[in-house]
Symmetry: C2
Subunit: 428 residues, 2 copies
């Protein structure tokens, strides 16, 4: 039976039980062959396709509840599953099965003068706890990526996507069974009790090796306050585009519009446009006009408001807000150094971009902006593991530790050193 039936149990005991099961499953997964893992992924993809109707039906319960609760359209959109979106999940699992198996891979090897041979070899991290919003597809993506990297996962999706996540998780379990891998390799937290998240952040008695949070401000604050285990700080994407005095306007405007509007609900979407006060006349106007024409709400400082009556006033809060919507804040800055300062103060170390044809200014910017991804003359929407050629990702890490930027299969691993000797002992 699937563990998601045990919703009645006391949350602390329940969660620790998940932790123990995950630890055992992780031991088995660490030795799983590529074939076993891929069999599970392809089996899960087949099951998703076979269960499309049931998944869409389960999703309808979540969507109806979210609509009744008056959730905004962008939330409903991220929550909603269609047969096409289920198919996209299945294709995603197939793509993950095609990635190279990172485990056991030789990262480096060298021989010492005393003939000791040292190898650095990829190993799994162990047990990964994933805490995410009400985006049902993350259940499939995150579980699959963790599995491919030989890790057991404990998934806690947003409570408003619970029925959807549960249906998807059932398909993942079917894949695991087909591969004769333990079902506890991918566990979905079988309760919407918020205390379950607290237990995960405390590490489930040492069972969880790392937490991957994917969510907004409230989750950020909670993780930062409570986490007692390492966190891949995938928190917010407050991404900036800086339009420098040296920009080529014809190239720059499409990048600004694309950075904000291609998709507004992803973390690589731009939230703030910084415009150099010394930019040629018309640059600020052109950028603001293009955004407004693209259907974007523009919130600006006084100089930006002077450009167009449709520009609304930005408050202090705007500079630190991830809108995840067709809204952008616009500020005039006194050159590249004030842009860098603004980003250091208000950014989230995710993705920031400079638009300029002056390569000296660009070099200054990319050296000093300490974000996971710093772009020159390209859209912030490229902040994506697939676009980097790194395959599917579990998110874009904004911390400095272990994994930074796109977190794909390779970033979900650790390593160890294997030292091969022939009787060497160490003198003095």
């Amino acid at each position: 039976m699937n563990s998601i039936e045990r919703v009645e149990a006391d949350t602390v005991d329940l969660m620790r039980g998940l932790g123990r099961s995950a630890t055992l499953a992780a031991k088995r997964l660490a030795r799983a062959t590529r074939e076993e893992k891929d069999t599970a992924l392809l089996g899960a993809a087949a099951s998703l396709r076979a269960q499309t109707d049931a998944i869409v039906e389960a999703n309808a319960i979540d969507v109806a509840a979210a609509e009744a609760a008056g959730r905004p359209a962008s939330f409903i959109d991220r929550l909603t599953l269609t047969p096409e979106r289920v198919e996209a999940m299945a294709v995603g699992l197939e793509a993950i099965s095609e990635l190279d198996d990172p485990i056991g891979g030789l990262m480096a090897e060298w021989r010492r003068p005393n003939k000791l041979k040292i190898e650095r070899v990829r190993t799994p991290l162990g047990v990964i706890g994933v805490i995410y919003e009400s985006r049902p597809n993350v259940t499939a993506d995150a579980g699959a990526l963790c599995l491919k990297a030989g890790n057991a996962s404990i998934l806690r999706g947003g409570s408003e996507s619970y029925h959807s996540a549960r249906a998807i998780h059932g398909c993942l379990c079917e894949g695991l069974r087909a591969a004769e891998l333990p079902e506890a390799a991918i566990q979905l937290v079988p309760t919407t009790d918020r205390e379950a998240v607290g237990e995960m952040l405390r590490g489930l008695d040492g069972a969880i090796d790392v937490i991957v949070p994917r969510g907004g401000k409230s989750l950020v604050g909670r993780v930062q306050d409570e986490a007692r285990v390492p966190v891949f700080a995938h928190l917010e994407g407050i991404c900036h585009v800086y339009l420098d005095r040296g920009a080529d306007l014809e190239e720059a405007v499409p990048i600004i519009v694309n950075s904000k509007l291609r998709r507004t609900g992803i973390c690589g979407s731009a939230e703030t446009l910084l415009v150099d006060a010394e930019a040629p006349a018309g640059h600020l106007e052109a950028a603001v006009a293009a955004l407004l024409e693209g259907g974007c709400e523009v919130r600006g400082d006084e100089a930006a408001m002077a450009v167009d009556p449709r520009v609304k006033p930005a408050s202090g809060v705007d500079w630190g807000t991830e809108y995840l919507d067709a809204i952008i804040s616009v500020k005039i800055v006194d050159g590249v150094d004030e842009a860098i300062e603004h980003i250091a103060e208000h950014g989230s170390s995710h993705t920031d971009c400079i638009l300029t044809e002056c390569y000296g200014t660009a070099a200054h910017f990319v050296a000093r902006v300490d974000s996971a991804i710093v772009l020159h003359n390209a859209s912030t929407q490229f902040a994506d593991g697939g676009e980097f050629g790194m395959g599917a990702e579990i998110g874009i890490a904004t911390g400095k530790m272990h994994a930074r930027g796109p977190v794909g299969v390779e970033q979900l691993t650790s390593f160890k050193y294997i030292v091969r000797g022939a009787g060497q002992i160490r003198p003095n």
Copy 2:
């Protein structure tokens, strides 16, 4: 003035002040050239030599107090500085100056089909908090390694080495002044108040990016309970040597003796010998005899006690004890799988070794033992960054995150992606 004069200030305010100074210094260090950093290191080495007498004098105060407090000989030995040991510190700083500068180094670069060029570039971590025992030389080593990697450091040495650390820190500051780098690049916590450690573990208001603890059990427990920032879990080295049935006794015995006795006070020293119950007659006896003859106290299970009347009984505590002394525990196990189980249960994921000529058994062992360093037919005392050819190290990390095994200059860095475009926007 040196910040170590401010001992009167309230500890919380004092520590947060250190944090703010470190954050500012880290910004400057991130842009420091190799020449600036090396000038500081060589200046510090010169100052250590010039101040040898003063350092040894300051150290005498610490040593006298430790002797009066009845500290054991091994503690006094690690605490004591001689002119030779001061010279060794200076040589250590010079060696660090000769290492390549990791910062700005290109770790990888590739071009995407859309012509975006992606570079992965090494960056500093930021501010590193180092918490260590009363080993004065760590002050120089840790401060220098952090500096070379472009990081500001906040050093908190054991309170019984305070006068020594302060004298050494003065030399580091002299080097920083000579290079016109901020003195706050390397700060020594100017108080022996234990609450200072608590403040560091809470991250000093977000100032500390990572904590590197180097110490014994009590520090371990405290760090695990209290740390609210990432930790390079350099905690204990409970290292095992497993003597397999397939071992070559002539090769194995010297490795066992060297693993335990070459130096007993380092983390790579073996603490437990596991002997295969199916090892040929005489193997256990030979290993135990060699250890006893080498002056090692042997604590064994019943089978080991039967070998020699000098073998004392091991209690349950022995299997999880880092002796840091000439003591070893010996246990008979039922083959390689029980050895692996014992290591999983009692080890510290630091360094473990198998002695066997059977390469199948060795492959089984190195694949399944999840320690940072797994050796085959070589002494555990090779667990050392220098012996790995990685240069000086701040410790051997036993966690799975970011840095694992020897933590040298490269491991004290992070990275970012720089994406160079020519107007690329992302379609769909």
